[in-house]
């Protein structure tokens, strides 16, 4: 278990070295990206259309913020993570095509994403769900917002973060998943309770 601060863009060497249990904070650029933006990223990949920002090595953050302001004066007020599992359909493709290498969310993801993390040398991390103001304090600036037609929560918010954490690595490039471990252990305990 290590404590690391990673600067973005995150290289494959850096993401590949992360292990379940590591506590990480990130400094640099982050991209907010939830359901609708995932669907559009995938659509653009299929049609080989350019996207507004270079995503290689830039962590994807499963979140939709509360914001104040407009146009060039956006301020992020609250920005905790959303449930990552909804993105399970998309994430493996996104990891392989856009190479963000790091996914930050909450609640964990499934087998398909885990396999893609192994293939691409990536890692998945959780930030405490609902700790929206702690997250917002680590977001220093909105660099840009794209695809705002998707709605404020669903747009791509490109932000500058400083020591964004504590993020706990729960899925790594060796295929280990804390979520799968907890899930199978708790299933065992459930069976024990129900048969007792």
């Amino acid at each position: 278990m290590a404590e690391v601060n990673l600067r973005t863009p995150v290289s494959q060497e850096e993401s590949q070295a992360l292990r379940v249990g590591d506590i990480v904070s990130f400094s640099g650029e982050f991209m907010f990206c939830r359901d609708k933006a995932h669907a559009r990223l995938l659509d653009f990949a299929h049609r080989q259309r350019p996207i507004p920002v270079r995503m290689e090595g830039m962590p994807i953050y499963h979140a939709g913020p509360v914001v104040r302001g407009q146009d060039r004066s956006w301020r992020i007020i609250a920005a905790g993570p959303t449930t990552s599992f909804r993105m399970e359909e998309y994430e493996a493709h996104i990891l392989r095509y856009y190479k963000p290498r790091i996914i930050v969310g909450k609640g964990g993801m499934g087998k398909t994403t885990s396999e893609a993390l192994v293939d691409t040398g990536g890692a998945y991390a959780v930030f405490p769900g609902g700790a929206a103001l702690l997250a917002a304090r680590r977001i220093k600036e909105v660099i840009g917002v794209y695809w705002i037609d998707l709605g404020i929560p669903d747009a791509l918010w490109h932000v500058r973060v400083e020591e964004f954490g504590p993020c706990i690595i729960t899925m790594d490039s060796t295929g280990e998943s804390l979520h799968e471990k907890i899930s199978s252990e708790s299933l065992g305990r459930l069976r024990g309770l129900l048969s007792g």
Partner: protein, 292 residues
């Protein structure tokens, strides 16, 4: 006399409190959870939640970026008068506070997925019922999407009883893992039809964590379920630990001879709720929070 403009402002204060300050019992439950947890990982999560809640209340900012879908529960005393414009005032309060707090625009058309802000068809949800009394009680429950998605309904066989309910609830808690932002508050609605059970499950989330069901057997059932759920080891944010649920609240109605409907509605750790009383003279009293 109750006046429209005054009601809107009072409801906005109520909703602001709900969105920014956890009720005392919820904070206390998180502190107890912190003490109970053994691992540094679990403690780190709970500590973040407590710290985040403190900042939210002090700065009057939303605890969570998911400011939720807003549900209002109106209990109208049978000797009270509910003005015809009451619901429209609730809608106005949500709309205005969305800009002022601000709240995230969380509402979309169900199929077109067009963002609508926070007010639309069936939103805010306003549930009105008549109860004995002179006053109007108004409760508000902002409900996040992540925890709402973990809701479930089972139409059990009548003979399954509490054993069947226990099996269904524990299985569902296990199945949800870290997704509803545990430690959660588990609302369970039993009886009625499918719709009534679902309504009861959500309404159960309005109850304080310190308060048990009035029926001693059900009160014991709530405590046993809480204890058993916490043996599953899912823990804060699903990362493992001793606190998977902060409380279990069961609400029951009578039902059809052929049925035993059971619904589950979970609330994330941020058990946001607030309540106030409106007297026949148009006086307001906040019950869940201190409001200046």
């Amino acid at each position: 006399m109750l006046q429209e403009g005054v009601l809107v402002e009072k409801v906005k204060k109520l909703l602001r409190k709900a969105e920014t300050c956890l009720p005392d019992d919820a904070i206390e439950a998180l502190r107890e959870a912190y003490e109970l947890e053994g691992s540094s990982l679990a403690r780190m999560q709970i500590q973040a939640l407590i710290e985040n809640s403190r900042i939210a209340c002090e700065a009057s900012l939303p605890i969570c970026q998911d400011t939720g879908m807003i549900g209002f529960y109106v209990s109208v005393g049978d000797r009270a008068h509910l003005p015809g414009w009451f619901t429209s005032c609730l809608r106005r309060a949500v709309s205005e506070l969305s800009d002022e707090l601000p709240m995230r625009p969380n509402l979309v058309s169900a199929l077109g997925r067009q963002n609508l802000g926070n007010v639309g068809a069936c939103a805010p949800d306003v549930w009105i019922e008549q109860v004995p009394g002179d006053d109007i009680e108004l409760a508000v429950l902002p409900k996040g999407g992540g925890s709402e998605n973990m809701s479930s309904l089972a139409m059990l066989k009548p003979w399954e009883g509490l054993v069947g309910i226990r099996r269904f609830v524990l299985s569902q808690i296990q199945n949800c893992g870290g997704q509803p932002c545990p430690p959660t508050i588990v609302g369970i609605g039993v009886g009625g039809g499918a719709d009534v059970a679902a309504r009861l499950a959500k309404k159960a989330l309005l109850r304080s964590l310190k308060e048990r069901n009035g029926d001693p057997e059900l009160a014991r059932f709530e405590m046993t379920l809480r204890e058993e759920a916490n043996k599953l080891g899912i823990g804060p944010m699903g990362l493992g630990g001793r606190t998977t649920v902060l409380g279990v609240n069961v609400e029951v109605c009578d039902c059809h001879i052929a049925s035993l409907p059971v619904a589950i509605n979970m609330h994330c750790w941020a058990s946001r709720r607030a309540k106030m009383m409106i007297s026949a003279q148009g006086e307001f009293r906040y019950l869940s929070h201190e409001v200046e």
